[in-house]
């Protein structure tokens, strides 16, 4: 067991602020590793110390393992929190931390490998008894025909080293299969340095439901589900906990499958098992596991009353889980809306710039996680997430109306945001019924653009 007294936060934006908040509450010293573009950021103003790790360009700063480790050593930290994105699931960083005697707040290198490679993750899921989407690996393009016999059309070609919505192609017509496979392989090589692809049945109507797990290397518990079916181009926009309109059996089966998977891996830390719910067949399939804290973690925190960053630090110190499964209480319903710096009516064109004023909703059941205040810059080098507005109430219906109220008090001047888009969706009749699948939001956007 190793007490963590000083942490290097190797990330930026709202998650850096989020991690610092918990560390401050726990009395842990914070050192921020920031690029030149983020030296005046909210996280930098909050941290006990800020180290500049390079120029704005991510490859030379946030994605640079050597520089991040150099900063961790310079600041003599006990631990490193990698946040999400960037190097959060990078085996080289986790390994370098281990070599330097720095606790990596996340799973082990082996576990990152076990789920980072999508094929290995699939094999592990099957070994753990979890249903996977019918499919298989493609050793040579010619093998595709044999696989298709099991899978059928449409088929999804996925990059083995992809993830997070990248490196996927849908094939509807048999005569396109070979050329799409070749294209997918060359794109995978270019984007991920690994040309391997595999095939999966494309589930035409699916809900993206994920299960939050927390484990200590021996034991694992689940903290309920989240529904993330509102996506645009595989990027999540709205998330909620728990996933609505699921039968109790289906829900409990998903919980168990996720816990079994974590136990099968002797998983340590926070993780999310992403599942695809096949609405037509009332079954679920393993998609991937994210071995890090996720953007949407607040909706789980609201519903289970835990601080997930604190739980990460707790198990990273080598302590056993504080809670048994039967002690986990899920109550009410939470929804999160991601406020992005974009002109959503101009084809979602990004809107970087300087914020003149930032007023956010506040009150009972309302929470805002942000990295901006008046004067903050939203730089063009990184993602467009400006704030997350989260509400929690005792029912989904109340949560929806609380969110509408909250969004009306959200006013950000100086950049364009998608706040109005969220407000419209929260008032939408179909969304109000709950349980829409991933095809819904693109249709919703299409209908809006036709008006």
């Amino acid at each position: 067991m190793r007490r963590i007294d000083r942490v290097l936060i190797a990330n930026r934006g709202e998650i850096a602020v989020r991690i610092i908040r918990t560390c401050q509450r726990l009395g842990i010293e914070t050192v921020l590793a920031a690029s030149e573009a983020d030296l005046n950021s909210l996280a930098a103003r909050m941290a006990d110390q800020t180290l500049c790790i390079g120029p704005a360009k991510s490859a030379d700063s946030y994605l640079n393992v050597d520089r991040v480790i150099a900063a961790a050593k310079e600041a003599r930290v006990d631990a490193l929190h990698p946040g999400y994105g960037f190097l959060s699931e990078n085996q080289k960083l986790a390994s370098a931390c281990e070599q330097q005697g720095i606790v990596f707040i996340g799973p082990t290198v082996e576990q990152l490998d076990a789920v980072g490679d999508k094929l290995k993750a699939r094999h592990n899921a099957i070994a753990a008894g979890m249903p996977v989407v019918p499919g298989g690996e493609l050793n040579q393009p010619q093998d595709a025909e044999a696989l298709i016999a099991d899978i059928g059309y449409p088929v999804l070609i996925k990059a083995v080293s992809g993830g997070g919505g990248r490196g996927m192609k849908v094939v509807f017509e048999p005569d396109q299969l070979q050329s799409m496979i070749e294209l997918a392989m060359s794109e995978a090589q270019a984007a991920f340095g690994d040309p391997r692809v595999y095939l999966e049945r494309y589930v035409t109507r699916g809900r993206h439901v994920e299960v939050q797990v927390l484990a200590d290397g021996d034991d694992a518990i689940h903290l309920g589900t989240r529904d993330c079916s509102i996506q645009r181009r595989y990027q999540k926009l709205v998330e909620e906990a728990p996933a609505p309109n699921l039968s109790d059996t289906l829900r409990e089966n998903m919980h168990q499958a996720a816990v079994n998977f974590a136990k099968h891996l002797n998983y340590r830390g926070l993780g999310t098992v992403e599942l695809l719910v096949d609405c037509e067949r009332e079954t679920f399939y393993f998609l991937e596991m994210n071995a890090r804290i996720q953007v949407e973690h607040p909706v789980t925190e609201e519903v289970c009353g835990l601080d997930l960053v604190e739980e990460q630090i707790w198990v990273a110190e080598g302590r056993p889980l504080r809670l048994k499964q039967e002690e986990v209480m899920l109550s009410g319903h939470a929804i999160e809306c991601r406020i992005n710096a974009e002109s959503w009516q101009q084809d979602f064109r990004p809107s970087p710039g300087t914020i003149e004023r930032a007023a956010f909703p506040v009150g009972e059941g309302i929470r805002v996680d942000t990295h901006v205040q008046a004067g903050s810059s939203v730089p063009p080098f990184y993602d467009s997430l400006v704030a997350k507005v989260i509400v929690h109430s005792d029912s989904r219906q109340r949560a929806l109306s609380l969110m509408q109220q909250a969004l009306s008090s959200c006013s950000i001047d100086g950049i364009d945001t998608n706040t109005a888009l969220h407000a419209g969706l929260m008032a939408d009749q179909t969304f109000a019924q709950g349980g829409v699948d991933t095809a819904y939001f693109p249709q919703y956007l299409q209908a809006l653009s036709e008006k």
């Binding site: 921020l32 500049c52 790790i53 390079g54 120029p55 990004p350 956010f360 506040v362 004067g375 080098f381």
Partner: protein, 155 residues
């Protein structure tokens, strides 16, 4: 500065007293709570600057984009439509869209400005010949900066 829970506590007291607004201002931190219809909004400001370490071990220099004196740029300037990273080719390793001396049409894509992971194609805007490329591949350009100069074809 206040935690989220602390702000909610302050709000409860302020609301219970029947106030519509609350201002808190110190050297380090400012907070404004404003009643808005059924709900409230909050604006907070952490004024304290970052405590930057002078770690010499990191030994870093700022990247400098090749700056151009705009008044000296001849011909028509292709301007960056938004701030971002200037790329000369569609993807790494691919040939550049244009080189100096190439002929272009009005809608020829001459470069990309990448902003928040999205690629924005930039067109020539005039018919003519590329006379100068002002930025290095992969460097940052402010909105409106002149990226490429084109000698317009005489009518």
């Amino acid at each position: 500065m206040f935690s989220n829970e602390e702000v909610r506590e302050i709000l409860k007291v302020v609301d219970a007293q029947g106030y519509q607004q609350f201002h808190y201002d110190t050297e380090d931190f400012a907070l404004i709570l404003q009643k808005q219809g059924e709900g409230w909004s909050s604006e907070s400001l952490i004024k304290r600057e970052a405590r930057l370490s002078n770690a010499s071990v990191l030994n870093l220099t700022a990247t400098q984009a090749k700056q151009v004196d705009d008044s000296a740029a001849s011909g028509n300037g292709v301007k960056a439509p938004l701030p971002g990273t200037f790329y000369r080719a569609p993807k790494p390793g691919a040939p550049a869209f244009v080189e100096v001396g190439d002929t272009v049409e009005t809608d020829t894509v001459v470069c990309i400005i990448e902003s928040m992971k999205l690629m924005n194609s930039v067109t020539a805007g005039v018919k003519g010949k590329v006379s100068d490329i002002h930025y290095e591949d992969g460097t940052f350009a402010e909105k409106g900066s002149i990226l490429i100069s084109i000698e317009a074809e005489s009518p």
